[in-house]
Subunit: 335 residues, 4 copies
Amino acid sequence: MRFYSDNTATAAPEILAAIAEANQGHTIAYGDDPWTQRLDEVLGKFFGTRVRAFALATGTAANSLSLATLSPPWGAIYAHEEAHIGVDECGAPQFFTGGAQLVSLPGEHGKLTCETLRAAVDKHPANVHTVQPAVVSLSQATELGTAYRPAELTAISKLARERGLKLHMDGARFANACVFLDCHPGDVTWRAGVDVLSFGATKNGALAAEAVVFFNLELVRDFEFRRKRAGHLLSKSRFVAAQLLAYVETGVWQRNARRANDFARRIGQAAGTALLHPVEANEVFVHLGDERKAQLRNAGFEFYDWGPQTSGEARFVMSWDQREQDVTALAGALA
Amino acid sequence: MRFYSDNTATAAPEILAAIAEANQGHTIAYGDDPWTQRLDEVLGKFFGTRVRAFALATGTAANSLSLATLSPPWGAIYAHEEAHIGVDECGAPQFFTGGAQLVSLPGEHGKLTCETLRAAVDKHPANVHTVQPAVVSLSQATELGTAYRPAELTAISKLARERGLKLHMDGARFANACVFLDCHPGDVTWRAGVDVLSFGATKNGALAAEAVVFFNLELVRDFEFRRKRAGHLLSKSRFVAAQLLAYVETGVWQRNARRANDFARRIGQAAGTALLHPVEANEVFVHLGDERKAQLRNAGFEFYDWGPQTSGEARFVMSWDQREQDVTALAGALA
Amino acid sequence: MRFYSDNTATAAPEILAAIAEANQGHTIAYGDDPWTQRLDEVLGKFFGTRVRAFALATGTAANSLSLATLSPPWGAIYAHEEAHIGVDECGAPQFFTGGAQLVSLPGEHGKLTCETLRAAVDKHPANVHTVQPAVVSLSQATELGTAYRPAELTAISKLARERGLKLHMDGARFANACVFLDCHPGDVTWRAGVDVLSFGATKNGALAAEAVVFFNLELVRDFEFRRKRAGHLLSKSRFVAAQLLAYVETGVWQRNARRANDFARRIGQAAGTALLHPVEANEVFVHLGDERKAQLRNAGFEFYDWGPQTSGEARFVMSWDQREQDVTALAGALA
Amino acid sequence: MRFYSDNTATAAPEILAAIAEANQGHTIAYGDDPWTQRLDEVLGKFFGTRVRAFALATGTAANSLSLATLSPPWGAIYAHEEAHIGVDECGAPQFFTGGAQLVSLPGEHGKLTCETLRAAVDKHPANVHTVQPAVVSLSQATELGTAYRPAELTAISKLARERGLKLHMDGARFANACVFLDCHPGDVTWRAGVDVLSFGATKNGALAAEAVVFFNLELVRDFEFRRKRAGHLLSKSRFVAAQLLAYVETGVWQRNARRANDFARRIGQAAGTALLHPVEANEVFVHLGDERKAQLRNAGFEFYDWGPQTSGEARFVMSWDQREQDVTALAGALA
């Protein structure tokens, strides 16, 4: 019974079907195919505004290419200290940006606050001696399974705009946040001031498909050169685009996220006071102690430790294709 | 009737079947799945020696990550002036290596010679003022549709070794060369002194699958850090690995390459004296003149111009899934 | 009366004399001159061990080239949150290393502690998902005018060694620390486990001269390629080397540092309870409040604010050539 | 009797005097000093137009920072195959630009021609697959001791402008070219369409002083961040600025260049038919054969071989401070 991560999951049947359907006849490579050509329109409709969208195979590429487009090599990128870009990507943002400086900020339940952000930006005045404020990067849902409310995002984007910063959102679990908030995808992106979104599908039912979505169209600039140069322009681009189209158009995004979120909520309720953070997406963080963790593992539950070595904390991630019976078993074991 | 490129082709049914088959149950992400874990063994068997193999989604990534592993930022990488790494990758090798210098060398029919290579290496003596000789990169098949014979490769690798250079092979069309030469895959790689191969499957029937294959195991070094950091470690790695396994194990590699090569040979024979280079893979380069090219286009044949604007040259690439009737039509039109 | 920084100071007469003396006849460029050739020997004698030393014109270059030699692009470099490399170099270490990640750590009076260092290194386990622990960088004297004791350095270097980290020291004010500690230069470098030192002379009487000093000779590796490639190999290298030789051989290093330190101690004593950090080099940090700072400025004292905008803090730096009467005046004004 | 290179020479007395004169009192560091502040005005007057000028300590830094400001990482930089930036800087332009591609072009006597440039630019169409045309870099005087005439420069700059390229000039020996052409410094720079000049003084009498001079002021953009980040902003900036001011204001630039050029002309005349290139600056390239070279060396003349190992070619460089008697001796030996 695996609760390691949502990227251990399978791809949804709709996604495989879309790939098979796209596998008909010759088509121009490198993005000039009909599937890729539809991305802007379909994602624009999804978000309720005009967008430029680019298909990619990994979330690290989506994040790093976004950040490299938004920040000069001497830029500062502000993010939560748990952010995937700072913790789990082996320095990819630094590689793609040519050495921008990641500034890690604390914040309860995985969220940045205006206060810490303001203080951090103040440390980088406009002179050549220090890196220059360039980007705020938020994760939605956060790395601790919580979701920024539209008002929280708006407050941060307002501050960002005042200080000349661009706002990037790492949406590896965007669908989970959206479903939890029961809001329109536009409400937590462009309407709240997000400039660029890494829109993830892989963790929620795709094979390997992410999109970088520009709401601020002026910022697209050199994105396509950067993507090509990083080896992230797929020749048979139609197969990534087809996944993204199916993800959005068939409703897989919502159905899968809802299923995973529901599982997580059940587990969160079972965990009770062991819970470390509100369950607002498909992840559950609990303090169990080392003994209890060992018991669960002996009972066949697989999951990652969390926090420092002897913290006694654990993370359970619910995938869209988790078996109902496994979730029920875990809830029972945690209750 | 499209003869633009072999990356306009579909994926072979065996490849899609392998993906579907891999889509069962939860598995550890980021390469610790059973499919990825089999790559070394299966490709080792294919090449007839011990290898380390890494799955990737694009050929540019395969080439660039190989070169970055083999060359320091101040290295010189010697390649033919038509090489994909110098002409078609928007400077990706420079990005991945941290600025290594590509040295473009002439050579008949797309092949490097020992003479030009030796002279070029001589220009970079062992001092801090100049970039330092690091890598020779060959394409097999070449960008002009020819194939290096084992003896040619051995001569170059001998020179490379004498001068302290590593030997990289861009095998985006490796299967086509192998089938043409009717040789064992080991004969034109490790037995001929190749250190690292970019082993392409995408152009020959895969969806998106390439492998970097290390024959010189000591050189693997930091490869995995570089791959992760470049956003090229797929989370659902099983789906790329499964393509590579099927490509090799079902014989798709040979069947598809043979089919495309056969088509090319027919077109080459029809082209007669218009032929610019021997047809030794699945590409045909011809001099037709602008008028003749226009006629062919009017007749429904799609293909790329080649060479300088008014050269009157054209390139026809045969894909594995080219329709027999289209090839027959093209042969007739060219005869 | 300027107390902005020690780099507002003049060059010492011995330094100018050494330049003039080196200005005789033709000599081979790029470091093959007799002055540069003596650096290893003279600095080796100074530090009491075998060294490899390289002359540079700026401290940022010295730090960044050191770090780039010690850390791979995916390395983590641990430093105090006030460290010059993180705060005052516009991201130079990231540029030179190809994107290594700076990890900023807190610590009283500008000093790193083993506890925070250990916890930070623990966050970077040995897998491809995170940057890999590579270097600890300490400043001696620190950015807050304090000096690490030999025992403190030894404790940190022991931890560094256990965790596979190299130890770099930013010695922009190395002479000031040495003079304060009244110790042999070797006691706070190689004997305490330092691998590489940025040995600064510019702030303490040189025109523009810094040396990167390798105590761990195996680490020199690619340093010279990196230096050349960064435009930091001066053609008329003799003029930088001559400064460094004079700095060490004439005793300028000690005389100037002692003078500046003595001034600072007087100011520190005058400041009394306003003092924020022990005065152990040539810098004095005080909390005065905004009103008091304005009064001092009206009285003709020039100095930098310190800390956040309304902190009321100020920094006074004593240069080797500070006028005695100005120091007396400042002491009087602060008392 | 050393004829290796003009960077084996001493610094002119006027330069040392200017440094000594600048060594008075405290002054703000990092370029906010009165000497640095005068650079724009003084160099503007020298060139006869408004400029932005930045002081640096090396020519490699001047070239690389210029190119990094003018070219994106995916840019192509076109230069003569003998250009210093491609041959003698260990890949510095690639390091500073983040991996731009140097395109080496042939051309008689070290000069680029419009024909080869046009053909090279044509190879880089406006799509993401190839690097994008960004900069033409010319050396004046060239690496083979010749000088572009104003009309030649104008023709190249016209072509550059038409194709959207910026024009950079490596003026390590700018004074020598200017004196030979007997023209106003503006005639071979901004009036001929040069956007940015690396204005060298080190080879012609300075200690270590180069300036990047922007004629196209819009292009300055991020230059200052790049310089700082590369460790090339000297803290005691006044000492580099003072050299540049003296170099221009005292007429050292002209006097020294004239002296070196005159020597070269004498040597060139003596060499007669052995001469490989017209002598239009302070360098003389001759074909002597290996035997004759050995004889000269036995007679005490020191110089570098040129070309491939057995070419029998040699380079003699005249420095401003060459002894008259040595030049006479060399002329005698060559006649």
